[in-house]
């Protein structure tokens, strides 16, 4: 069988901490297999050798927070056959989307000596608000096995196995006792998409919602239960204002308690 031409892969960074793209380097055991299966053409965290586009696959990390990036993402899209966003920043705006609930000019005036030089957008927004995205991989950070699964699926022309059900399903598959029912620990698992392997409940902690809202989440019902368990409005708002604060269901729910 003649050797298939390896797909060209590019990794792009927008407003982010680099943690998600480092998940690719974190693949360790599987990294050689990845390098064998794709041609890493543009990945500054891994190599200074950068090849020009077009690319078969672009992994995009980070949110759009500056006018410059709002332009740049279109250039990335034009050069990419498939564009996959990775992580809470790229899929929901990230922790920096906390600015969306305040006036960003107040922040810049406090943080920078010369805020006049700062050119920033009012809001931090996910990539799909700007360009068409082929697939979104959730998480803060993403799960490296899910990343490998998406790449494997793409290389083998199949659908990736990335369920959109709750963290609860993964807890139950793992045999974890429920921390919310069994211990009275507030947990975002019932409204959060699985993918992390239910890490926090496995260590008797409530879920922090790092993978963002699951399909059809019912946040008002969970909020009511949290309040019945003694969580006050301030802490309820904080719980939803994490890495996925600007994901629509989380945003709406936190605002309803902030103003309520």
């Amino acid at each position: 069988m003649p050797a298939k031409k390896k797909p060209k892969l590019a990794v792009w960074k927008f407003a982010s901490c680099d943690g998600c793209q480092l998940s690719l380097l974190d693949c360790e055991d599987e990294l050689l297999a990845v390098a064998g299966a794709v041609h890493i053409a543009n990945f500054p965290e891994a190599s200074r050798a950068v090849e020009k586009g077009p690319y078969d696959v672009s992994l995009v990390e980070g949110s759009i927070t500056t006018p410059h990036d709002a332009e740049r993402i279109h250039k990335v899209r034009r050069q990419s056959k498939y564009l996959i966003t990775i992580g809470a920043c790229a899929t929901a705006g990230g922790i920096q989307a906390l600015r969306n609930f305040k006036d960003v000019r107040e922040f810049t005036s406090i943080v920078y000596a010369n805020p006049d030089y700062i050119e920033t957008l009012e809001r931090s927004t996910p990539i799909r608000h700007h360009v068409f995205v082929d697939f979104e991989l959730r998480g803060c950070p993403i799960n490296k096995y899910q990343l490998l699964e998406v790449i494997s699926a793409l290389l083998n022309n199949r659908k990736p196995v990335i369920p959109e059900h709750s963290v609860c399903v993964d807890c139950k598959l793992a045999g974890n006792p429920c921390v919310m029912v069994g211990h009275g620990t507030p947990c975002l698992g019932p409204v959060t998409q699985a993918g992390c392997g239910a890490i926090c409940p496995s260590f008797n902690r409530g879920c922090y919602g790092c993978f963002g809202p699951k399909e059809t989440p019912n946040l008002p019902s969970l909020s009511e239960q949290w309040q019945a368990m003694g969580v006050d409005k301030t802490n309820l708002v904080r719980a939803y204002r994490g890495f996925n604060a600007f994901a629509e269901p989380f945003r709406k729910e936190s605002e309803s308690h902030e103003n309520g």
């Binding site: 069988m1 599987e30 297999a33 990845v34 064998g36 299966a37 490998l148 699964e149 790449i151 494997s152 699926a153 290389l155 083998n156 199949r158 196995v161 369920p163 959109e164 059900h165 709750s166 609860c168 399903v169 139950k172 598959l173 793992a174 045999g175 974890n176 006792p177 429920c178 919310m180 029912v181 069994g182 211990h183 009275g184 947990c187 698992g189 019932p190 409204v191 008797n204 699951k214 399909e215 059809t216 989440p217 019912n218 008002p220 019902s221 969970l222 009511e224 239960q225």
Partner: protein
């Protein structure tokens, strides 16, 4: 697996040291002994080697959406009811490899899953759970389409039942006619009696294997007084269930009420998180996950527990058949209590109460049925006023 044949109903009295002996005998005979044990603040089903692994002196307080372990004032071994696990995890595990395929130099090699399953002795099976296993037996083995893996894992199970003398806060087996006393399909059944001055167990055999094992234990025939005491406790338990479900006409009730506006009320609370279906000892739905490695030289198909509360469950061309929460909740409860009867000739509910306790927002299947029943007795004006 006819375990009714040698049920004589003859009861014997044994002491706690003989339970340890029982576990030893089972392990000597090659059984893997699994039973209730405390893990992370709840009672789960895992491997147990000795009596000391049991939740001695613990009880569970259960109510909708809440489960807490509490210390008992005595040293009872079985002074609690069921926790989040059920025996389904052993006979129908959350993930089952169906096959794996390897490609090498143009040839394809099929790898089938190992069929070397442990011989399980289930120690401490409650009556509702015996019924749950019977229900799953019908689902997986009751038609021409037998589930190979379930049948293999189920084949050599030994059932050591425990009769419930203290029902839990969300139990309603008496309503479902599945408990609290195990009546069939066990090898041995225990009733624990804890009195001020004595602590013993009545034991009864339900199969030839059970009788053989029982003969290895030091036992005395139970006295009439001891048997009467056990019966008295079991009758009291049946009268004191934490929940009740009126099953009169339940199938038609659900069919009649498919369009009841009450479903929308439930949907406001339902998280569609799937917890109820995951903890249910009879829920049997699964999906298959097909994956490959990066190079495409090996592929595998895994069967995984699925839930009718996910969108993907009913996804067909164009979208999910049940996109809204109310249709998903309605589907689950209607299948469990009504269409299950048409499909398998039995109710899908055994009254164990797990779905009530382990619902993070405490939705109560018995209350939901009651609401439907009540809504039928309201006049249309009253119904409007209630909304």
């Amino acid at each position: 697996m006819n375990k009714d044949a040698s049920t004589t109903g003859e009861q014997f009295r044994i002491t706690q040291d003989q339970l340890q002996k029982l576990l030893d005998v089972l392990r000597d005979q090659g059984y893997e002994t699994v039973g209730p044990t405390v893990r992370e603040g709840v009672i789960t089903y895992d491997q147990i080697d000795g009596v000391e692994d049991l939740p001695i002196g613990w009880t569970d307080e259960q109510e909708p959406g809440k489960y807490r372990l509490k210390k008992r004032s005595d040293k009872a071994l079985f002074g609690y009811v069921v926790g989040p696990h059920s025996w389904k995890k052993f006979v129908y595990p959350p993930r089952q490899l169906l096959w794996r395929m390897h490609r090498d130099n143009g040839t394809q090699k099929l790898e089938e899953p190992s069929e070397d399953y442990p011989r399980y002795a289930f120690f401490g099976v409650r009556s509702c759970e015996i019924q749950a296993l019977a229900v799953q037996d019908k689902v997986f083995m009751g038609s021409d389409y037998r589930d190979r893996y379930y049948a293999l894992r189920r084949k050599d199970n030994l059932i050591i039942a425990v009769n419930c003398v203290e029902p839990g806060g969300t139990c309603f087996c008496a309503s479902m006619d599945t408990g609290p006393k195990a009546r069939k399909a066990f090898d041995l059944a225990l009733t624990e009696i804890v009195e001020k001055d004595q602590h013993y167990f009545l034991i009864e055999s339900g199969s030839d294997i059970g009788t053989d094992i029982l003969s290895e234990l030091k036992s005395d025939p139970a006295t009439d007084k001891q048997i009467a005491r056990a019966d008295e406790l079991l009758e009291k338990a049946a009268r004191n269930m934490g929940r009740q479900l009126d099953t009169t006409d339940i199938k038609d009730l659900l069919y009649r009420n498919a369009e009841n506006r009450h479903w929308e009320q439930v949907a406001k609370r339902c998280l569609s998180c799937s917890n109820c279906t995951m903890v249910c000892p009879t829920c049997f739905c699964s999906t298959v996950e097909d994956t490959t490695d990066l190079t495409g030289t090996s592929a595998e198909r895994v069967r995984r527990w699925d839930s009718c509360f996910t969108l993907e469950f009913s996804y067909i061309h164009g979208g999910a058949v049940r996109p809204s929460e109310h249709t998903r909740y309605r589907h689950w409860i209607t299948h469990k209590l009504a269409s299950w009867q048409d499909q398998f000739g039995t109710s899908g509910c055994v009254g164990c109460g797990r779905c009530i306790t382990w619902c993070p927002v405490g939705i109560d299947i018995t209350e939901e049925i009651k609401s439907l029943q009540d809504s039928e007795s309201l006049t249309s004006d009253e119904a409007k006023a209630k909304e």
